[in-house]
C-alpha cells in the first residue's frame, strides 16, 4: 500500500482533489437551496408534509440509478461530472430541506414571540433569532449530508467519474488490492476530517448549547 502510494502519488492526489470537489460543491448547492425550501415548509404549514414525502421519495432513488439516468434527463454527456454534482445536490437538498424545516420548528415559540414583542420584523427575526437557534439541528443535518456525499461520490466511478472511486474500479480491473485500500482509507479519512471540522464549527457558533448541557 505504501509502495503504491509512493509511485502513484500524483494519481491519488488528483483523485482526492476531484473527490473533494464532487462532494462539497453539491453540499454547498444543496444547503443553499434547502434554506428557502425548508423555510417555506415552516412558513406555510400545509407544505410541511408534502415536503417530507418528496424528500423521502428523492432519498429512496438509488444513487447509481440517478447517476445513469441524469444524462438523458439533462442532456449532458454520460462522462460529465455535472451528473454527479446534480445528483448529489438533489440528495443534499432532500435531506436538508427537511432538516431546516425541523430546525426552525424546534425553536421555542416563546423566543420568537419575545423577538416580535421587541419589534423584530419577520425577516430580521428569521435571520437573527430563528436561524441561529435552528443551527444545532441544521448543522447535525449538514454532518450527515457531508459524510454521505463523500461516500456516494465513489459510486460515480461505475460511470467513469468518481474521484477516489476511480481507484476502486482500477484496483478491481487489475485485481490489485493496494489502490482500493488507499481509496477506502482516504475516503473514510476525508469523511472523518470533514465531520470533525463541522463539529468544531458547530461548537464555535452555538456556544449556548454547551452551556446548557454542562449545567444539566
Amino acid at each position: 500500500m505504501i509502495d503504491y502510494l509512493g509511485s502513484n502519488s500524483d494519481v491519488v492526489l488528483a483523485a482526492l482533489r476531484q473527490h473533494v470537489g464532487l462532494a462539497f460543491l453539491p453540499l454547498l448547492i444543496g444547503v443553499v437551496l434547502a434554506l428557502p425550501v425548508g423555510y417555506l415548509g415552516v412558513r406555510f404549514g400545509w407544505l410541511y408534509h408534502p415536503l417530507l414525502n418528496a424528500s423521502g421519495i428523492v432519498y429512496s432513488i438509488p444513487s447509481l440509478a440517478l447517476f445513469v439516468t441524469l444524462p438523458y434527463v439533462l442532456g449532458t454527456q454520460v462522462l460529465s461530472p455535472v451528473n454527479i454534482v446534480v445528483a448529489l445536490s438533489l440528495y443534499t437538498l432532500a435531506l436538508m430541506a427537511r432538516t431546516v424545516a425541523d430546525g426552525l420548528r424546534s425553536v421555542d415559540p416563546s423566543l420568537t414571540e419575545a423577538a416580535t414583542a421587541m419589534g423584530y420584523r419577520r425577516t430580521r427575526r428569521l435571520v437573527e433569532v430563528e436561524l441561529p437557534l435552528a443551527l444545532p439541528v441544521v448543522l447535525a443535518g449538514v454532518r450527515v449530508a457531508a459524510v454521505s456525499n463523500i461516500s456516494l461520490v465513489s459510486v460515480g466511478a461505475l460511470i467513469g467519474i468518481g474521484g477516489l472511486g476511480a481507484l476502486f474500479t482500477r484496483g478491481f480491473q487489475l485485481f490489485y488490492t493496494a489502490p482500493i485500500l488507499v481509496g477506502v482509507v482516504l475516503s473514510v479519512l476525508l469523511a472523518a476530517v470533514t465531520d470533525l471540522v463541522i463539529v468544531s464549527v458547530q461548537r464555535a457558533v452555538t456556544p449556548w448549547t454547551r452551556a446548557t448541557t454542562r449545567r444539566a
Binding site: 417530507l52 445513469v68 475516503s187 465531520d195
Partner: protein, 237 residues
C-alpha cells in the same frame, strides 16, 4: 424488440435468467440476506448496549463510521481479497446494515422513559423481562425506523453487485451503460426506484401496525380519547 418499444413493455424482457422478474428476485434476495445478517449481528449488540448503557460510545459512533465507508470500495476490496462470488457482496451489504440498526436500537432503548423501567423493576421483573416486555415494545417505533432506513439503503446499494459480475437490478444499469442502451438503463433505474419506494411503504405499514396501540396512540382517536400529538418522525432520531 424494435427500438421503439419501451424496454419495460417488451415481453421478452420479462422472462428468462436475464428477465426482470428474475433480476428483481435476485435483488430482493441480496437485500433480504444482508438485512438478516445485519440484524443477527447488530440487534443483540444494540440491545445489550441500550439495556446496560455499557459501550455507548461504540453505538453512537457506529452510525457515522458506517455512513463514511464507501460500499463500492469495500465490495471491490473484498472481491480482490476473496475472489468473485456472493460472499463479498453479502459482507459489503451487511456492513451497510449494521450501523443504522445498532444506532437506532441503542437510541430507542436509551430514550425509553426511565420511570417505566423503574416501575417494571419495582414490580419484580427480571432484567430479561424488563428488556422484552417494557424496553423493546417502547423502543420499537425507533428501532423499526432504523430497520426501514437500513432496508432502503441496502435495496439502493445492492445495484453495485452487478459491478462485480453478480445479478440483481444493477445488471440493467451496468449492461445498459456498457452497450449504450438508453432504454435498458432507464428501465433499470425505474424498477429499482419503484422497488425501493414499495419496500419503504411496506415497512412503513409494518412500523405502524407492529407498534403496540398503547404506544402509538393508534385506535384511541376513534374512542374519542384525547391523543397527544405524535412527536417528530422517529426516523431521524
Amino acid at each position: 424488440m424494435g427500438d421503439d418499444t419501451p424496454y419495460l413493455l417488451d415481453g421478452s424482457h420479462w422472462s428468462g435468467p436475464q428477465g426482470i422478474p428474475h433480476l428483481v428476485l435476485a435483488h430482493l434476495g441480496y437485500t433480504g440476506l444482508a438485512l438478516l445478517c445485519g440484524l443477527v449481528i447488530a440487534l443483540p449488540v444494540g440491545l445489550y448496549i441500550g439495556h446496560t448503557g455499557r459501550g455507548s460510545f461504540l453505538a453512537i459512533n457506529a452510525g457515522n463510521a458506517g455512513r463514511s465507508l464507501p460500499t463500492l470500495g469495500l465490495l471491490m476490496l473484498m472481491v480482490t481479497l476473496m475472489g468473485l462470488g456472493f460472499l463479498p457482496v453479502l459482507i459489503a451489504l451487511t456492513v451497510l446494515v449494521v450501523p443504522p440498526i445498532l444506532t437506532t436500537t441503542y437510541a430507542g432503548l436509551r430514550n425509553v422513559d426511565r420511570s417505566a423501567v423503574d416501575a417494571a423493576v419495582g414490580m419484580g421483573m427480571r432484567p430479561w423481562q424488563v428488556l422484552w416486555r417494557v424496553e423493546v415494545p417502547m423502543a420499537l417505533p425507533v428501532m423499526l425506523g432504523g430497520l426501514r432506513s437500513a432496508a432502503l439503503q441496502v435495496v439502493a446499494t445492492a445495484t453495485v453487485a452487478a459491478s462485480v459480475g453478480l445479478s440483481g437490478l444493477g445488471r440493467l444499469l451496468i449492461d445498459g451503460l456498457s452497450v449504450n442502451d438508453y432504454g435498458r438503463v432507464v428501465a433499470g433505474a425505474v424498477v429499482v426506484a419503484v422497488l425501493a419506494i414499495v419496500l419503504d411503504l411496506l415497512l412503513g405499514l409494518v412500523q405502524r401496525y407492529a407498534v403496540s396501540p398503547g404506544i402509538s396512540g393508534r385506535g384511541l382517536r376513534r374512542r374519542g380519547a384525547p391523543v397527544a400529538a405524535s412527536g417528530p418522525d422517529p426516523e431521524l432520531a
